[in-house]
């Protein structure tokens, strides 16, 4: 497996990628757009883009992912895709009848410079329907950037400050996470008695139930009214700087809604931060139910700490998820020694630090000297592991090749997970999500210990 990868690291300066740890913007925009109720994402580019993104999202969620394409031809690439987009908008409303269409661009249409807002203005849009857009040049950032851009566009197109006083409600931007995570964050907000608007919200869309009937536009998703009302909230909590802070900052700029940017609530510390932010914003006591969950989590972590302590870990994936996972494994006493994301390090337009600095500071608190890289690839990660072996690998499905090559226990977290199911329904966020992660990690480590044990060392109780 991956036998062409050498231990010797030859410096690569081309900027090319071998075995990517990211994909391109449009898929993130498509996923975010699915989090608006009644929305059909539309890919303005060649057919292949839309097909690839639908394929990958479908394989991750194992649910229908509906999206349309401008079906570019060579002619459109030369003369511009205006006619394609206008035809598409007309056909989509007539044939599929969504409440709105969310257009995102591709490297093709960004390169030729199609002016999407002007094209939308001249398109035939039926009464009561809406078309929004975001620019997602595939040659900038990553799929996380695309998610962030579409989420910011929701603010641009919808959010309005219409009340003189801000409402007692909070906007929660969950970031590029699974619907299972979004449901868990909403549950926590409800327990905290915090009225909230979550956007985007793909729960009820890409985890829709089997009823014997196909619904092109399932029950879930943030409504347009909610997106508009987000401008009246008294606070926005952006979870995950890379996926969520741009939209939050835009809300502040456009509607004067102050922002709190927190980590994606993976692990006890980041979840505490979310709970504390809600507690402070709504001056409300933390209910016993949450306190009990937290106590259970600490109990589990303490009871099993000897399974984890001192074990070396390699973590890769999307920056917000990797940050959360790094903090979580550290809270278990593990040592994250290789930490890598494929996404470029600084959130575009954001003034807050960089991935490299953030992670360095985080692991520095435990005195760990780790290999850290943004805009990295899995070829690099594999070579790091060959040079400094680890006890555990955490990342998306693409990590399985390295895990097999180096015979390392592997825990699948993040996007995409293509070779296991149910993950998108189950949270990794919140106290209960952390319990699940602890179970997954200890399961992987102990299964390995069992596998490797000699008969006389094979234990009943561990």
């Amino acid at each position: 497996m991956l036998d062409a990868t050498t231990k010797e690291i030859k410096e690569r300066t081309s900027g090319g990628v071998i075995n990517p740890a990211k994909t391109c913007q449009p898929i993130g925009a498509m996923y975010a757009a699915l989090g608006i109720h009644g929305c059909l994402p539309h890919s303005h580019g060649s057919q292949g883009c839309c097909s690839f993104h639908r394929m990958h999202l479908t394989r991750h969620f194992r649910d229908p992912i509906m999206a349309s394409t401008s079906s570019f031809t060579e002619g459109a690439s030369v003369f511009g895709g205006g006619a394609n987009l206008k035809t598409a908008i007309k056909t989509i409303f007539q044939v599929y009848n969504p409440d709105l269409i969310a257009v995102h661009t591709t490297c093709l249409t960004e390169t030729i410079g199609d002016d999407i807002p002007n094209l939308i203005k001249t398109a035939e849009i039926p009464e009561g329907k809406k078309v929004i857009h975001t620019n997602t040049p595939s040659y900038v950032g990553s799929h996380v950037t695309g998610f962030s851009n579409m989420t910011r566009s929701m603010v641009n197109y919808f959010s309005e400050a219409t009340t003189s006083l801000k409402k007692e409600q909070v906007n929660i931007i969950p970031g590029f996470v699974n619907p299972g995570d979004m449901r868990e964050i909403k549950r926590i907000a409800k327990l905290m008695k915090a009225p909230f608007i979550m956007f985007p919200d793909t729960s009820g869309v890409v985890d829709s139930p089997m009823t014997g009937e196909f619904q092109m536009f399932p029950k879930g998703g943030t409504t347009q009214a909610e997106l508009t009302d987000a401008g009246n909230s008294k606070l926005t909590i952006a979870l995950g700087r890379f996926a969520s802070s741009d939209a939050a900052e835009q809300l502040d700029k456009k509607c004067k809604v102050p922002t709190a940017t927190l980590k994606t609530p993976i692990g006890i510390k980041a979840t505490d931060d979310l709970v504390m932010a809600l507690r402070q914003a709504f001056v409300t006591e933390v209910p016993y139910e949450l306190e009990e969950e937290r106590g259970q989590l600490v109990d589990i972590m303490t009871d099993t700490h000897f399974h984890f302590h001192g074990k070396k870990v390699a973590i890769f994936g999307d920056p917000d998820i990797v940050t959360g996972m790094t903090e979580l494994v550290m809270s278990l006493g593990m040592k994250p020694v290789h930490i890598l994301t494929g996404t470029p390090g600084g959130a575009p337009g954001s003034t807050v630090g960089s991935f490299g600095e953030d992670i360095k500071e985080l692991v520095g608190m435990a005195g760990i000297d780790a290999n850290i890289k943004a805009a990295g690839d899995l070829f690099t990660l594999h070579q790091w592991i060959k040079n400094e072996p680890v006890d555990l690998l955490i990342g998306n499905t693409y990590g399985k090749f390295i895990a097999r090559a180096e015979d390392i226990p592997f825990v699948r977290v993040g996007f995409p997970v293509l070779d296991r199911s149910v993950h998108s329904y189950m949270p990794i966020v919140g106290y209960r999500g952390a319990m699940r992660l602890v179970e997954m990690i200890s399961g992987a480590l102990l299964d390995r210990q069992d596998r490797d044990a000699a008969d006389e060392d094979f234990e009943l109780v561990m």
């Binding site: 036998d3 090319g16 990517p20 994909t23 060649s46 509906m66 031809t73 002619g75 900038v140």
Partner: protein, 537 residues
């Protein structure tokens, strides 16, 4: 159950008027009494339509080049295109030299904004250098994505210079996603490049074994190619090269020595098959290893071509042994499948091939079609002279080859060729249409809306298609079978494959999970109980 023209009109009525007329030409209700019916294919999908189609890059790098295991395939473009063609098609490969198997690697130039503005040629050259330094492959391919053609990067010049620097072949493919109307354009572009630069580049003049053949259009999805190889090797064929599943640059360059080219997927590889015939005088045989009967027929046709009584006898021996072995297994599955109906909408050849296998299981295909095929794949190659080129097909360069002055050799006399052509599909493909029953429907580029409507009308028991519509269909309570990636199972080709397919399809029907869709409280009223003397429950 057939549908009427009126019902079809009703479905199409939802479309804008221009699109109505367009889609009507892509849908045929099979009525062979009225003579040959014409279908429109390989033309543009209307913008906004939710189509299953992909792009030229997907057809070139994703389908044809990707499976070649000992070459490093570089995608020149932003990251997504390389990412989505990395391990997603299940084209398996193994090599003796483990360090020369690049099937699990994805290499991209990961173009950034500055590359779009200032050009990406230098970056591409550097990436090629790093690939050579790290992997030492025997050959490299470079596939272009949309922006490459738009900004005018000359990938051919970069490849040529790299060839000179490194002394290995570096092949450039201008398969920008916007070319043509589907993956099909990319197949053609890949075929041209492989024919032009690889096939015939080897020094072999004669094959090592008896009955040397190439297997074209077999991509080893789920190990299909390995099952076919098992059977062919058992009979005594010498497989020179497979295009391209588990294929290699090493084998491909000597593909000119074969005596017969087998064509499994006509759509994606017929260009090479034709060119091999012109250049080396080697005919091709349309084969079909999907289904027991199709496999048997294919094996007999191959033996017929070589005409050797010993080969024919060995062929019958293997057939008899294999059939005796698998028949009891097939029987148990037939009981589950008998009397059911299917939709079969796949790619450019499987939409046809799987109908036979469904039929063997007692499943009638009531609607079939291709995602990106041409008219000849539906109607047969006799329509080729009638197919008009349009603006989109003109953009794909035709490669014209000539007889190789040293290596051209007629494998059969013209008389023998003519005689055989009467009996076996030699250098001919009859298409899907002739195998479909009266009243069945043929749909080209079936889209989401039509899928829903046809399902409502025809209520098939199983839907054979791809991942993008799989869960749409299953939400309706109908099992959906991925025929692109086999739902991560396989092989489905050959004798063992037929059993696997029968097992998997039966599983789809027999799974208890379908029984739970309706919750019990939806079937029972909330208030039940007896009325007692006081009238209270």
């Amino acid at each position: 159950m057939a549908i009427t023209e009126a019902q079809l009109e009703e479905i199409l009525a939802k479309y804008p008027s221009k699109l109505q007329k367009n889609r009507k030409k892509h849908i045929i209700i099979n009525n062979q009494e009225c003579g040959a019916q014409t279908i429109e294919a390989n033309t543009r999908t209307a913008p906004g339509i939710i189509t299953n189609r992909g792009c030229a890059y997907a057809g070139c790098k994703g389908v044809v080049l990707g499976p070649l295991k000992d070459m490093v395939h570089i995608t020149h473009g932003p990251i997504g295109c390389a990412y989505y063609t990395w391990g997603t098609r299940r084209n398996k490969a193994r090599t003796e030299d483990l360090a020369q198997n690049f099937i699990n690697y994805a290499v991209s130039t990961d173009m950034q904004e500055s590359d779009i503005v200032f050009g990406g040629e230098k970056k591409l050259a550097k990436v090629i250098d790093e690939v050579v330094e790290n992997f030492h492959p025997k050959a490299i391919t470079v596939s272009a994505t949309c922006p490459v053609g738009l900004i005018g990067d000359d990938i051919n010049a970069v490849a040529k210079a790299a060839e000179e620097r490194h002394g290995i072949p570096v092949l450039a493919f201008s398969c920008e996603g916007y070319k043509g109307v589907s993956q099909s354009a990319g197949h053609h572009i890949a075929n041209n490049g492989l024919m032009d630069k690889v096939i015939g580049a080897g020094t072999m003049e004669k094959a090592n074994g008896k009955y040397p053949i190439n297997l074209l259009g077999e991509y080893n999805i789920g190990g299909d190619g390995w099952e076919v190889e098992r059977i062919l090797t058992d009979i005594g064929y010498d497989i020179v090269a497979v295009m391209t599943g588990d294929g290699s640059y090493e084998d491909l360059k000597n593909a000119h020595v074969s005596e017969l080219n087998l064509v499994q997927c006509h759509r994606s590889i017929n260009y090479i098959a034709e060119m091999l015939e012109v250049k080396y005088g080697t005919p091709w045989l349309k084969v079909n290893f999907i289904g027991v009967q199709s496999t048997i027929e294919t094996l007999r046709n191959m033996a017929e071509y070589f005409g050797d009584p010993a080969l024919k006898a060995r062929t019958e021996e293997v057939i008899a042994r294999e059939v005796a072995r698998i028949e009891p297994m097939m029987e148990q599955y037939k009981k589950v499948c008998e009397g059911k109906t299917a939709f079969c909408f796949v790619g450019g050849s499987r939409g046809h091939h799987y109908q036979g296998l469904f039929g063997e299981l007692g499943i009638d295909t009531v609607l079939a079609g291709y995602e990106f095929a041409h008219r000849d794949d539906y109607e047969g190659r006799q329509v080729l002279p009638d197919i008009k080129t349009d603006a989109d097909s003109k953009n794909i360069p035709e490669l014209h080859v000539n007889q190789d002055p040293n290596r051209f050799k007629l494998k059969l006399s013209p008389e023998k060729m003519a005689e055989l052509k009467d009996r076996i599909p030699l250098s001919y493909y009859a298409g899907m249409y002739v195998d479909m029953k009266e009243g069945t429907i043929m749909v080209d580029d079936l889209n989401h809306y039509e899928t829903e409507e046809f399902i409502k009308l025809l209520k098939p028991d199983i839907f054979a298609s791809g991942i993008k519509d799989k869960y749409v269909v299953q939400k309706m309570g109908i099992p959906a079978k991925q025929i692109h990636s086999y739902d991560y199972s396989g092989p489905y080709a050959g004798f063992n494959g037929a059993v696997n397919f029968a097992r998997d399809v039966s599983m789809g029907f027999a799974s208890p999970t379908w029984n739970f869709i309706v919750p019990p409280w939806k079937e029972e009223p909330l208030l039940t109980g007896k009325v007692n003397a006081e009238g209270v429950a």
